[in-house]
């Protein structure tokens, strides 16, 4: 079984196809960068523990989604059960930046009655010479939607940790303040105190889901 965690947050990663969603997640969860990455079909899953304070670990369940338009009907069903999201665009692809609005509208329409804490991620920042979106305009857009903005590179491992851990911290603060709460039938935030799903035909394994603090 996994190490002990205080909460489990489900995050979703969205954005146009080829902006680098899968590569960013792989860098974060597996610590490596694949030169060749096949397009995601449907949805994919990753997980990692993040220590936000000494002894306080959060388990991140990261849902990777296919960016292609045709998969939208499948992927949009999973916005609802996410507490946080990374909205990616590619700084060398102006179109993917222009579509950020569309992605936000799309999620807004499908997340209710819950909310998702988003961070705007300008990806592939190692390709600065081919940049088509300035940091300034991205920051302006993020501000307009009340999001943080960060630039990352999966290839050079720039800000990848920070993008995920900052988002995790922000969500953790909201949970602590009671602005986000654990709800029955919602997968966004789970507590590590109790086993969340137990298979009925099996014995209940409680021992490794205790709280550390």
């Amino acid at each position: 079984m996994e190490a002990i965690w205080l909460y489990q947050f489900r995050l979703i990663v969205i954005g146009d196809s080829t902006v680098g969603k899968s590569c960013l997640i792989r860098r974060f969860t597996e610590g490596r960068f694949a030169q060749v990455s096949d397009p995601t079909v449907g949805v994919d899953f990753f997980s990692r523990l993040v220590e936000i304070e000494p002894g306080k670990r959060i388990k991140l369940q990261i849902w990777d989604t296919a960016g292609q338009e045709r998969f939208r009907s499948i992927t949009r069903a999973y916005y609802r059960n996410s507490v946080g999201g990374l909205l990616l665009f590619d700084i060398t692809n102006r179109r993917s930046f222009q579509n950020v609005h569309e992605w936000l509208e799309e999620t807004k329409a499908h997340v209710q009655p819950y909310q998702i804490v988003f961070v705007l991620v300008g990806h592939k920042c190692d390709l600065d010479t081919q940049r088509q979106v300035t940091r300034h305009e991205a920051e302006k857009l993020a501000l307009a939607y009340d999001m943080k903005y960060i630039e990352t590179s999966a290839r050079d491992a720039i800000n990848v940790e920070k993008a995920f851990t900052d988002l995790t911290r922000d969500i953790y603060e909201l949970v602590k303040r009671g602005e986000i709460s654990i709800q029955e039938g919602w997968e966004g935030v789970k507590s590590g105190f109790v086993p969340n799903v137990v298979h009925s035909s099996e014995e209940v394994v409680k021992s490794d889901r205790r709280c550390l603090c």
Binding site: D38, V41, G42, V43, D44, F45, S47, Q61, E69, R70, F71, S73, I74, A77, E187, P195, N196, V197, V198, H199, S200, S201, E202, V205
Partner: protein, 271 residues
């Protein structure tokens, strides 16, 4: 695959238009519908796996989208992909369903296996990292052949799930053509006799090369079921050539598949 680019292209066209119509359309309704069909067939193959997936509310599209859309080419080891695709070209989508059911059965089919996937996420992880043993060519093909899931079962479930779909989602937005279960069904559906067309080779033979008396020209080396576009490549013979070539890459005059194709008009062509 092991065929020239042009033939591979026409195989792809046939997959998209005849074998898996609607799979690559805008809303992916056909895939979602097949997910429901797959799930509804699961109790007859593995009740524990069905019970487990139902309990954890794991939507079929979470695990079967890549399986079905890529016809397992991203999931299985290459040797198994080749076997599965041979069967798939011959028999149609039934093979894809059977492979999916076999993988579910051997991944989630016993309480011992379920012990390690108590949560939804753990279950998804198991289905993402399948045990290589169950994907191994000999084992998988044997299981697929023996699995008692027929075209009729699939068609029956298709009607049931389609009705449910219309109740919950409304009419299908994608008006896709009917699905053909394999090479024979495709061939039978073509309105003209194959022999009536003149061969129109698109691959130029080197000078001096002679054609066989049967007029077999740019023959597919593998099970390339032919649609109208490539029908001109077909030989004049009455034999279901696409299947013959599937079994006999160099197509000797002996078509081994003749018996099995013509002798059994039941719901299953071979299996």
């Amino acid at each position: 695959m092991h065929m020239p680019a042009e033939q591979a292209f026409w195989c792809l066209v046939q997959i998209c238009e005849k074998y898996l119509p609607g799979y690559y359309s805008e809303k992916l309704e056909a895939i979602q519908l097949d997910g429901e069909i797959l799930f509804s067939l699961l109790p007859r193959v593995s009740p524990p796996a069905y019970k487990h997936l139902s309990k954890q509310k794991i939507d079929p599209i979470l695990y079967m989208t890549e399986w079905f859309m890529c016809a397992f080419s991203r999931t299985l080891p290459w040797s198994s992909v080749l076997r599965v695709w041979d069967m798939f070209f011959c028999e149609g989508v039934k093979i894809i369903f059977r492979v999916g059911l076999v993988l579910l059965k051997y991944t989630l089919g016993s309480s011992e296996k379920l012990r390690s996937c108590q949560g939804q996420y753990e279950t998804m992880e198991q289905l993402r990292a399948l045990n290589p043993k169950i994907m191994q060519e000999a084992f998988l093909v044997q299981e697929v052949i023996e699995l008692p899931v027929t075209e009729r079962h699939i068609e029956r479930e298709h009607l049931i799930q389609l009705k449910k779909w219309k109740e919950t989602h409304g009419e299908l937005q994608c008006k896709c053509p009917p699905r053909f279960h394999g090479a024979k069904a495709i061939r039978d559906s073509e309105p003209y006799p194959h022999g009536a067309l003149e061969p129109s080779p698109s691959i130029i033979l080197p000078p001096g090369a002679t054609l066989s008396p049967k007029g077999r020209k740019s023959k597919p080396r593998k099970g390339a079921p032919k649609g109208p576009v490539t029908a001109g490549h077909q030989a004049n013979g009455p034999l279901p050539e696409e299947n013959g070539s599937l079994l006999e890459p160099d197509s000797s005059p002996l078509h081994r598949s003749k018996e099995s194709l013509s002798s059994q008009e039941s719901e299953d062509t071979y299996l």
